[in-house]
């Protein structure tokens, strides 16, 4: 029913996850699978590109909360880019900007990873 797609691509040492459509309790497991794959491959630097994401519920937000600490323990991070206002507002309501970095463009997030080595 819910239309959701997730795509994984590598940009240098960074993994970029493109999310598209509707991220809810039904589709969140697809995103979890991608994060599990990244952990299996010991890829800890992650950017989630929200350019084509139309909708997110707390089930989707919970996925990022479940994995971010592990990424950081391994000198990586989960950074967010290209988020539409309606999606950002939900992250903001829950206080995510305290704990996560948000970038307008994916390349800015990539530069931040590059600057940290």
């Amino acid at each position: 029913m819910a239309d959701f797609n997730v795509n994984l691509r590598g940009v240098g040492s960074v993994s970029v996850i493109d999310v598209k459509g509707y991220l809810d309790a039904h589709t969140a497991p697809e995103l979890e699978n991608v994060f599990n794959k990244l952990l299996d491959n010991r890829q800890f630097k992650v950017i989630v590109n929200f350019d084509e994401l139309k909708y997110i519920s707390s089930a989707g937000l919970g996925v990022f909360m479940a994995y971010v600490e592990t990424m950081r323990e391994n000198k990586g991070d989960i950074k967010f880019s290209n988020m539409k206002d309606n999606v950002y507002n939900i992250f903001d309501l829950l206080g995510f900007p305290i704990l996560y970095e948000f970038f307008k463009e994916e390349k800015e997030a990539l530069q931040k990873f590059d600057s940290l080595g």
Partner: protein
């Protein structure tokens, strides 16, 4: 729609599966649009209803797909009411603490975010227990 005309009322009955969330959101969207809410407010109402139904699927029915979720939407005197009823395990909403993001971060978990969002997004949220062991939450948004 003119509120002085007949009372707006729509009903939907779905099984307790997460693949019905898209249908629930569409039902909510079309009703709220018919009642004259802005796109921004419609987005808030949709998310609150999604969160409430997700909680029912997860906590009241513990992911069993056989449960019923009854939704009734009414619009009266500028107020949009969404009543969501289930026949699953009762839970006490006051027992859910306000989410603490920093604590969750350390514990690698996220619980209670949905209930917190519902409260933030809606004007009124009322939980009650009905006869026949039914649980009901009524979400209200004012058309202002």
């Amino acid at each position: 729609m003119n509120s002085s005309e007949q009372i707006f009322e729509k009903k939907l009955l779905v099984k307790s599966t997460t693949d019905n969330l898209a249908l629930i959101r569409e039902f909510t969207r079309s009703s709220a649009a018919e009642c004259g809410f802005t796109e921004e407010t419609i987005g808030k109402i949709i998310l609150a209803v999604d969160e409430a139904c997700t909680n029912i699927i997860k906590h009241a029915y513990k992911y069993s797909p056989e449960g019923n979720i009854f939704l009734t939407i009414k619009f009266e005197e500028g107020k949009f009411f969404i009543s969501i009823t289930d026949e699953g395990v009762h839970f006490d909403p006051s027992s859910i603490p306000e989410p603490d993001l920093v604590k969750y971060y350390k514990q690698k978990r996220a619980g209670g975010l949905g209930m917190f969002l519902i409260k933030k997004l809606m004007d009124e949220v009322n939980y009650s227990t009905l006869s026949g062991n039914k649980n009901q939450v009524v979400l209200v948004k004012y058309l202002s």
